[in-house]
């Protein structure tokens, strides 16, 4: 199993395509950092709106490394599924397209094992991608913008508000958030692999995965009450942004943030279970279909 995993990882990392994801992330993050370094104020003005009439806020302090990472993740975690799909949806179909799949499947390795190994390899790729994101979006941002308390701008139902988390209470939230993101992206990995099993070229499943994710994400964010109640809970994309839950700090009865707390841990927990459920479902479907599949490519 370990040898197989090594082989799969070797394949992923020998391929130029793999680095597109890293390059794309790096580019987006650097652009963000550059933009905020030079004109973060106007973004803050937009977010703070009329609060500035009543309060003096040091915007240069508000735009700090932690805040930057939040903003970057906010945007990036919508795009990263595409990058993950690029690798995951290619795992089977790409090999079918290249013609290497049939050769691989004449080797004394069971299809289930092969699929699991490929899944694991894609998962490791995803984790590497997240680690890279953590390095440049969090640690590099901290280096450029410094450590400071973080403001979380939040819309909850009809209300908008700002949460302040003290700087000594943030790092663990990022670790948790990246951990959560790993689970969320693994759903994309599993979905990509499932679609990949049915195709004989990689474009189809990649596009299909991306389309499903985009479509669901759009529906998830529509903010139409009927959809919110009846559709949203059933879309896995609604749970992709669950990492933010770690930044929704718990409040005491006086509405003061409680250090080290999370507002709604059960909701995050539930999301994690739902995501794990999706992974399990997609993966088992992929294994069942792959075992039955006649290799005609």
């Amino acid at each position: 199993m370990f040898t197989l995993l090594q082989i799969e990882l070797h394949k992923i990392y020998s391929r130029p395509r793999t680095y597109i994801a890293f390059a794309a992330i790096t580019a987006i993050v650097l652009i963000f950092q550059f933009a905020f370094k030079y004109d973060g104020q106007s973004y803050m003005d937009l977010m703070l709106q009329n609060i500035q009439d009543n309060f003096e806020i040091d915007k240069s302090k508000a735009i700090n490394g932690y805040f930057m990472c939040y903003i970057i993740l906010n945007t990036l975690l919508i795009q990263v599924p595409i990058l993950v799909a690029l690798v995951a949806a290619d795992t089977i179909s790409g090999e079918a397209n290249m013609g290497t799949l049939r050769l691989m499947l004449t080797k004394p390795v069971s299809r289930t094992q092969l699929l699991l190994v490929k899944f694991l390899a894609s998962f490791i790729f995803t984790v590497c991608l997240l680690i890279w994101m953590a390095i440049i979006a969090l640690f590099l941002s901290l280096l450029i913008f410094g450590h400071e308390d973080m403001l979380v701008f939040r819309v909850k139902g009809e209300e908008s508000f700002i949460l302040q988390i003290t700087k000594d209470d943030i790092m663990w939230r990022y670790f948790a958030a990246f951990g959560y993101a790993a689970i969320a992206l693994t759903v994309i990995v599993a979905l990509g692999m499932l679609l990949s099993v049915f195709a004989e070229n990689s474009i189809g499943p990649i596009v299909a995965t991306v389309c499903i994710v985009l479509f669901f994400t759009i529906v998830s964010n529509m903010n139409i009450p009927v959809i919110d109640r009846n559709v949203k809970p059933y879309l896995f994309t609604s749970y992709l942004v669950g990492w933010k839950g770690f930044f929704y700090i718990g409040l005491d009865s006086a509405e003061q943030p409680i250090k080290g707390s999370i507002e709604n841990w059960p909701a995050i927990q539930k999301s994690i279970y739902i995501l794990l459920g999706h992974i399990g479902f997609f993966l088992s479907m992929a294994i069942i279909s792959f075992r039955k599949k006649d290799i005609l490519s």
Binding site: L4, M98, G99, R102, L103, K107, P108
Partner: protein, 310 residues
């Protein structure tokens, strides 16, 4: 002689199309077994079933005395295959490709082993080049190295000479003969060219529309003295009955108004005497063609041959 591979009434359909129909054959140890048929006759489907790439609808496959369904991994550890054109990882070097598949076959990999294999197929000097830069022939040779690297007992080659130039074809042919002679491997090689099989195989099967036409020793099947005879008699069913009790049962079939059989030319007068001795009126007796002609026609896609299978 040990049977290495045996299929029993193998069938596979794709939607309405019956690709393989009740196919039974066997390959003996040390055979170079020719698998012959037109394109679309069901060769590839059969070979993919032998390699567990396609699940048969019915029938069974036994290799090394084990059932492929239940002992897949044990069997495949000892099988090497090149299926159509061997596609490899273009972005990896020849050496890395070989190493990767060797590892997948579950053997201990050493640099000397891999280089030996590359040497065998004449790619040692290009071991570090990316496969993307290889010609079709080089890829084919690397594919064979991949098939051989784990020293399998049975080697399955699906149309290994497709797309190769004459020199490439000759190289592959020599390689197959070497493997059989010097390394005592069993080779199953498919082709749509009788001429090719004739040169290397000791046994062969011909399939047409997914059905077996004939199976046996190449020498015997292609014996120039053998012919296919068409007979019309006053009472065909009586004649058929007589013949089926005689020595001339090979390829014996009866259709509405004729009987057909395989026979050595020198036996024809005896056959005529035998029938007339049994009060059978012979209206027509026709030497259709030699077996070789028949198979040639069978394997030539331009000819539509009416096939009578036994």
């Amino acid at each position: 002689m040990n049977t290495i591979l045996k299929t029993n009434q193998l069938s596979k359909s794709f939607k309405d199309f019956k690709a393989v129909d009740n196919l039974s054959f066997k390959v003996n140890q040390g055979d170079i077994f020719g698998f012959l048929g037109q394109n679309g006759a069901g060769k590839s489907t059969t070979i993919r079933m032998l390699l567990s790439l396609i699940q048969p609808d019915s029938g069974s496959i036994e290799i090394f005395g084990m059932n492929l369904q239940t002992k897949r991994n044990d069997i495949l550890r000892n099988v090497g295959a090149v299926i159509e054109k061997p596609d490899l990882y273009k972005y990896l070097s020849a050496y890395d490709n070989l190493k990767l598949f060797a590892k997948m076959s579950g053997i201990k990999v050493s640099k000397s082993l891999l280089m030996d294999q590359l040497e065998l197929v004449g790619l040692a000097s290009r071991y570090n080049s990316k496969v993307g830069t290889f010609s079709q022939g080089m890829k084919q040779r690397l594919g064979i190295a991949v098939a051989l690297v784990h020293n399998p007992e049975l080697i399955v080659l699906d149309e290994p000479t497709n797309g190769l130039d004459p020199q490439g074809i000759a190289d592959i042919r020599n390689l197959i003969l070497t493997l059989s002679r010097d390394r005592n491997k069993t080779v199953l090689v498919s082709s749509h060219l009788l001429s090719e099989i004739e040169l290397i195989a000791n046994r062969m099967i011909i399939i047409h529309h997914g059905k077996k036409v004939v199976e046996g020793e190449v020498k015997e099947l292609l014996d120039p003295s053998k012919t296919i005879l068409k007979i019309e008699t006053g009472d065909n069913s009586k004649a058929f009955e007589l013949l089926s009790k005689s020595n001339w049962t090979k390829g014996l079939t009866i259709t509405q108004n004729q009987i057909q059989l395989e026979i050595t030319k020198s036996d024809i007068p005896d056959l005529v005497r035998f029938l007339t001795a049994h009060q059978t009126d012979i209206y027509l007796i026709q030497n259709l063609h030699s077996l070789e002609d028949y198979f040639l026609k069978l394997t030539n896609p331009k000819e539509d041959v009416h096939v009578v299978t036994n």
